[in-house]
Symmetry: C2
Subunit: 616 residues, 2 copies
């Protein structure tokens, strides 16, 4: 395509953006119009992609970080012939795969869901890491960003990571149209302001007039030929470009154009331009994923105490030996989370993310889109830093394993800032998630391996302190199952626990037994999904579930058990022990006691319930 043809293509993308939004009655046409030239040049001259083979290993990868510019994205799909005009006009309609914000669940050419700003570049870094460090097929990652979203700190976590890793296969394109949603951005059209920032973080920068297709073409070429550092193309554009009445004006974000017909006429009317996108190079998939033998670590039942975080680290390292597609990430705490064991044995598949949890989860997501199986770990408490990334990962439907260590008050003297006390709530509420909370080393190892085979977001919660090995190394722990550790037909109530409270519950059960009170004890290692059958049976047999968790009272195990009783069946009585106070500094045992979740507290609660004849 020559300059004139490129311009025509860009105009068509504008026209179609206006038409699609008009048909939908909603959408973001002006945000799409500013980036039309940027997209046209990319499609016609630089992107290497086979729309008929989205999984081709040599394909470039494109991420629409400014996810609201779907009119532009879908207009591009039409221009390349991937969708037809009729489908374009189903934009935002019920049942259409052309949703308001892009989703890979429905559309095969979308790498990751977007719509929460500042996430595309971090995820693009993950994809680029896969490309450069693991796959080495030479593809380029292109990320189209807005200017407004550069205010997000996650963008600078990504910038730091990308430059440090010399990701010259990553190109960011910033549509600097100076207008955010509510009003002008801080820096308006001052491209230098953005350039200084990216340069300080180690990027190569190119500033262009985003409506000069030849200049944009040269800028992309410069990005492609720059080695050793990623490049950002900062493009000065006008929001609503091409239609005088909306161009560069405030107050029009996220609205269809007031007069679509007039706008389309002004843009020169509909076209029928088809663009041929360069094919990807023929390439073999360079990573032959090893699937070999491996032995999970094994601990002797009743042997020395072991911390589940240690079991995690060892199991992950073993898994990594057997599965070449397993990769690990950590946020500067791998000596604490024990991801360090994997890092030592498989350094080429370990990604240190430093203290940047958003970027760590985003990188995991990016790696997962490329088929890798990531395990990303930090303190459970600090996973809250990446909550929006976890949320968007669930929107994408991508599969990642997240591991949060240092669960609960049991960590001891470090105090509440380091304690995971709401992580079960956070992870349970993630769409399609699996939440696992092992109480011993063998169980941990088994679950670590099992997680790799699941879909969606999988969360494993580990503990800091060493605890008893109560299961043998060959025991199995199906996801969605539980373990009944004490049971009899004279059980007065059922104690449901997980993690550290399993051991407390067993001690309490022993104490109560000596007083003539039998209680059932369930290890609810699968917090989501829960074992409905076993919980229902316990409810029928004993009439009361006493849940106990090293977690806040909301959203954790106490709420999880309810899942078995949501169809209107009779419900058991419920008693909930959880962390209700703000902890201070104290030893682990002091913490458990102060929180009322230790063996003494469980036994006391059990005793009280029996005395009050609340339970049979």
């Amino acid at each position: 395509m020559n300059t004139a043809e490129l311009t025509e293509l860009a105009q068509q993308l504008r026209v179609d953006s206006v038409r699609a939004s008009a048909a939908a009655g909603s959408g973001h046409p002006t945000s799409s119009m500013s980036a039309a030239d940027l997209m046209a040049v990319l499609l016609a001259r630089h992107l290497r992609y086979d729309f008929e083979r989205p999984a081709h290993p040599g394909n470039d990868r494109f991420v629409l970080s400014k996810g609201h510019a779907t009119p532009l994205l879908y207009s591009a799909y039409k221009a390349v012939g991937a969708i037809d005009d009729g489908e374009l006009l189903t934009f935002r309609k019920v049942g259409s795969r052309l949703e308001g914000h892009p989703t890979p669940r429905r559309v095969p050419w979308v790498e990751t869901a977007s719509g929460s700003l500042g996430q595309g570049l971090p995820i693009g870094v993950g994809i680029a890491l896969a490309g450069k460090r693991l796959e080495r097929t030479g593809y380029r990652v292109w990320v189209l960003c807005g200017d407004s979203e550069l205010a997000e700190g996650s963008v600078w976590e990504a910038a730091e990571h990308a430059a440090y890793e010399h990701l010259d296969n990553l190109t960011a394109i910033v549509d600097v149209n100076r207008l955010g949603q509510r009003g002008p951005t801080r820096h308006g059209h001052d491209l230098d302001a953005y350039a200084r920032r990216f340069q300080a973080f180690g990027w190569h920068t190119v500033e262009v007039d985003g409506h000069d297709v030849d200049a944009v073409d040269r800028a992309y070429g410069e990005a492609e030929s720059t080695t050793g550092q990623p490049t950002v193309v900062l493009a000065r554009t006008l929001k609503g470009k091409g239609v005088e009445s909306v161009q560069d004006r405030e107050g029009l974000h996220g609205k269809p154009l007031p007069d679509a017909d007039e706008a389309i006429a002004e843009l020169g009317g509909p076209r029928d331009v088809r663009v041929r996108v360069h094919e990807p190079p023929a390439t073999r998939m360079l990573h032959a994923v090893r699937a070999g033998q491996f032995e999970l670590p094994r601990w002797e039942k009743g042997g020395d105490d072991v911390a589940t975080r240690d079991a995690y680290g060892k199991a992950l390292a073993a898994l990594g030996t057997g599965r070449g597609d397993v990769v690990a990430l950590d946020g500067e705490v791998s000596d604490s989370t024990r991801a360090e064991f994997f890092a030592k044995e498989h350094p080429e598949r370990f990604f240190e993310c430093y203290i940047a949890e958003q970027q760590m989860v985003a990188a995991a997501v990016g790696l997962a889109t490329r088929g890798w199986v990531p395990y990303a770990s930090t303190f459970a408490a600090f996973l809250t830093r990446a909550h929006d990334f976890v949320r968007m990962a669930s929107v994408s439907g991508v599969g990642v394993n997240l591991v949060g260590s240092h669960a609960g008050v049991a960590i001891g003297q470090d105090g509440p800032s380091q304690m995971g006390l709401e992580d079960l709530a956070m992870m349970r509420a993630v769409h399609g998630s699996t939440v696992l909370y092992p109480c011993d080393a063998n169980q941990t190892a088994r679950l670590v391996a099992a997680m790799a085979g699941l879909d969606g977001i999988r969360y494993l919660r580990t503990s800091r302190g060493a605890g008893p090995v109560i299961y043998g190394p060959d025991e199995e722990f199906p996801v969605g199952g539980c373990k009944v550790l004490r049971a009899g037909d004279r059980d007065r109530l059922t104690v449901v626990a997980a993690g550290v409270t399993v051991h407390e519950a067993l001690a309490a059960a022993d104490a109560l037994d000596r007083e003539g009170i039998q209680v059932r004890v369930i290890d609810l290692y699968s917090v989501k999904p829960v074992d409905r059958e076993t919980l229902r049976r316990a409810a029928e047999d004993t009439g009361c579930l006493l849940t106990v968790e090293d977690h806040h009272e909301e959203g954790g195990i106490g709420d999880a058990v309810i899942d078995a009783f949501l169809d209107g069946r009779p419900t058991p009585r419920l008693v909930r022990l959880a962390v209700r106070m703000m902890p201070g500094s104290a030893s682990p045992d002091e913490q458990l006691h102060a929180a009322g979740i230790d063996a003494m507290s469980i036994a006391a609660a059990g005793r009280l319930l029996v005395e009050e004849a609340v339970v049979r």
Copy 2:
């Protein structure tokens, strides 16, 4: 103090850091030792603070962003005479206020809890905004950061905001000791690497040898005399400085020194240095907080439909007229959240935070520490971006109002990336939080006003679409209450709803009534705390609670109602309607129907329960 005395003070801070950690058997002495000179110079020459009057309006404000350096902080408190040596040695012991990480709940000289890295500077920006824009008493905000935490994106949100607002009353001090927890930082001792970044964001930078007390003194002076921009003092230091065996060595983070006695001897032994900190200037509190008349907006019951987000905006503006201590913040979406109404009427108390939710919440926290009453708003979905900041705010015990708009699938075509579907779960699990979810305009206005008088984190969930006004403008809505909208003694079950589902529930109740089935309808606008009394009565009277929410099934209203039944009393049967699928794009009504939470779905569930004689 002269140079020699400063050096002695610094050595004492080191000695006491070693002693305190040794006594505790845990802690971060090496992270404290690197910053001892930085702290000594600050205390002796630059900080203006009266430890006997921590609320003095002229006091400088100090934030320990590297919150693990509590040995240093508490040693400083001893050196100024605020605590004695006996108390210092209670560090990290159960019951001691000298916790592992600092907390303002216990210690009056701590501005904000820290321990989750990368938060101190953003919060410091909030305090500095209060000082510069609102209070104008001339105090300085000093934030002591680690180098490792500069990887957090939130630091760059803070850097951007501070420079843009010309916060020359803010000084960051970075203890560049080159070693993180697991190992070396990316940039080691390359101060220029950090300086370039801060300069790009508009800061003045000073690089010093962090162990040359005279140079540090000059650097602080330079910061104090720099106008128009904030200053960062980048100090090259050695972790574990002063003790050869641990100095600048890896693998010693977060551990007491192996041989404390030897270390103390090497440091020259214990001292008895007392430092006199400069008093704050006599100053009157320049912000006379107006407490005047104001009228909440009023809507006619049964009049035109109104969106609760509109009611929020109007109520907040009115509240701001009456209360001069109310401030508002928003993340570039005030036209959507309607915080724009407040911004228009009270521009001097509105803080545009752009697309940076972490910094927005941090700024709210900083403002709250100064006694302001902040309302910070964005889309409910995007509040997940700031989850770790909300968590730490609860650890601090600070009071802020958070407002999340665009709740649920009801937003329509924008799709899941913009929908708040897990925000109730997130906010319920926050320690000490209040969670409110109004269904009409008058209720919203009342709750907005009521929130201002509560403690801790208060969350209000608003909706995008207009809905009926079902309450009169003089109705009251106590926090912890609910509204029973339909009730009779032949109720077969109770439908518990909130927000948009209240209207759906009422329509369903009407439909069922026409079929001869009476159901109770409860508006659970107070999601936390819930109205236990009314829920228990409904359980007793009707035997079944059918909850329906525009939210995921975990952690929201369905779980909230359980709170009334956690003491072992008989529990009602439970049926839960919630959003269980991944939404796409569709109109609001189509979304509610597809999610199975509309009137039709509620009626169908009710009918089924009655037919199956599950309910009486």
